[in-house]
């Protein structure tokens, strides 16, 4: 690191983790039918296990989160260079008896951010921004209130997230982060960066997103930001990973946002290594066709 003068051993590995969804109302032994929150189970199948049951529909127990991070600490932490963490750090809003509040969302995000910081920071340094493995978080659609809805900043929510992610977001990006809740981290200074993209500004289900054509749209602003970042990275010779919560596929993004975003990934194929997302819970990949997006944009 030319700024700190510190040397760090690189492992050639990194972690991608997403959608932890910890639920502080989860109760072991409660009824799965009641979101694992309450009541006696009707039978064995309806009983909420300590670490959860696959496909049952409950969120993650706090134990699942804690034991997952513990396992990562013991088995992975010292063998990776950085962490890409793509959001949704609180339960779903699926229990009418306990509606999710803005306070609960921010509070759980803060708890998890502190756990991630404590897990990956450099414990020998006094500087809280020193990490053994840099952590690059991004915002999920469940991390905002109301659900899915996120406006162009500065807003109270963008400020809250800067406060919560304060050790993860480089200081010089505070003002620009306040607008879009997106940022860039050089995980290998001068050589490799991870771009954390607030995909909610491109997301169809965000009621504030109509398209990426009007200058008033948050997606337009986000793409202006992204374009400038990519160009600067190209000029500096830095290669980049793109990261965000909602995957860049036609099902999720407003039409013009999808095509324009795909164009940037296509035209900067000299520096972009790939893009990593969460949100859909399924392990798969989708090819995005840059030439087709040019064709659609030109025809439109």
């Amino acid at each position: 690191d030319s700024q700190t003068g510190k040397e760090k051993k690189l492992h050639g590995r990194f972690l991608h983790i997403t959608d932890i969804h910890p639920d502080s109302h989860y109760r072991e032994g409660s009824s799965i039918d009641k979101q694992c929150h309450r009541d006696k189970p009707e039978d064995k199948k309806d009983r909420a296990p300590r670490f959860g049951r696959a496909c049952a529909g409950c969120d993650g127990s706090v134990d699942l989160m804690d034991y997952t991070l513990k396992w990562i600490k013991e088995n992975v932490r010292d063998e990776i260079d950085f962490v890409i963490w793509t959001g949704d750090n609180v339960r779903h809003d699926n229990d009418r008896q306990i509606p999710r509040t803005e306070f609960e969302i921010l509070d759980m995000n803060e708890v998890l951010a502190q756990k991630m910081h404590s897990l990956f920071c450099d414990h020998e340094s006094n500087n809280p921004r020193d990490f053994d493995a840099m952590v690059v978080p991004s915002l999920g659609n469940n991390d905002v209130f109301p659900h899915n809805l996120f406006a162009m900043g500065p807003t109270l929510q963008t400020r809250e997230y800067y406060r919560i992610w304060n050790t993860f977001v480089p200081q010089e990006q505070q003002r620009i982060f306040d607008r879009s809740a997106s940022f860039v981290t050089e995980v290998i200074p001068g050589k490799l960066a991870v771009i954390s993209i607030n995909t909610l500004f491109l997301f169809k289900s965000n009621p504030l997103v109509d398209n990426c054509d009007s200058k008033k749209q948050p997606g337009y602003q986000l793409l202006v930001w992204l374009g400038n970042i990519l160009q600067e990275m190209r000029e500096r010779g830095i290669k980049v990973w793109l990261s965000g919560h909602v995957p860049a596929i036609p099902k999720n993004y407003a039409d013009s946002c999808y095509d324009k975003f795909t164009l940037w990934t296509y035209e900067y194929r000299d520096i972009i290594i790939g893009s990593l997302y969460g949100h859909m819970n399924m392990d798969h990949f989708i090819p995005a066709d840059g030439k087709k997006s040019w064709k659609i944009i030109n025809e439109r």
Partner: protein, 282 residues
Amino acid sequence: EQLNGASLYKSYSDNEADAEVADDDDDFFLDHAMCASETHLLGAKPVQKESYMNSVKNVFYQKIFDKFEDQEAYQTGKRKRKNLRKKRKSMEKLCERYSIVQIAGSVIPTFNPGFRIWEYNLTGIDNDDQLLRAQSWDKFYQNLERIMDNDVRIDEDYSIVEITGKRSKNDKTLPAKKPKNLPLGPAHVAQLFSPTKFIQYFADLSEIDKQYKDLLKQGKNASEAADFAFKYKVEYTSQDEPYALGGLLVKDYISLASKLVSDKKLWKKFLERAFISSGYKD
């Protein structure tokens, strides 16, 4: 149909603009009410995921398969010669148009909890002696803020498509074409920082729960039992059969997408892994 009918009717009314807004609002509230209702009903429970994956295959992978087929047909001379020059492209050219959107399994037990370790090429990092530009990041971000401020202030209500009818040259959300002298990056050609392998970890929740209960029965306390029973293990790696990937470049994924269309056994395995070995079926 009712909504469309209403829209058609309203467009002929005197207060055209108001009616359009009202109609948009109807759609808006309907969409979001349905979305909210769905979330309340389903939470994290997976529904119709197999259908979704089949549509991924039928829409995205199938197109790639068709292009591959085309390519092969031209190479083996099965297509008409007059189109040969126009259509025949190298595999590299075919893949260059794509980027790969990687979508990860989650920790929440929608299926089994999982996460991924990516490995990447570090060869040559010490030789990579590029010069850092003089401009500091502070200056860059200050300048970027100015650019964004100006962009919003000028013609605030100007909608690039609606007003001109054709796209403005001022649309800063469209990239310039990649300069031809720039080589392809680590996604396309093996080099420094190219991904080389991944390891997908998962927690088999039914096995963990069984072991946890057994340990409790044996007299262990809850903490000891949890410490012993809870573990992640390797679900698969990118180099595992039946579709071992030699590398993780775009061309490797494109080739895999094509194979998944034509080989039912591979597709079955791919689905099993997509659902983090939870045994999920629609």
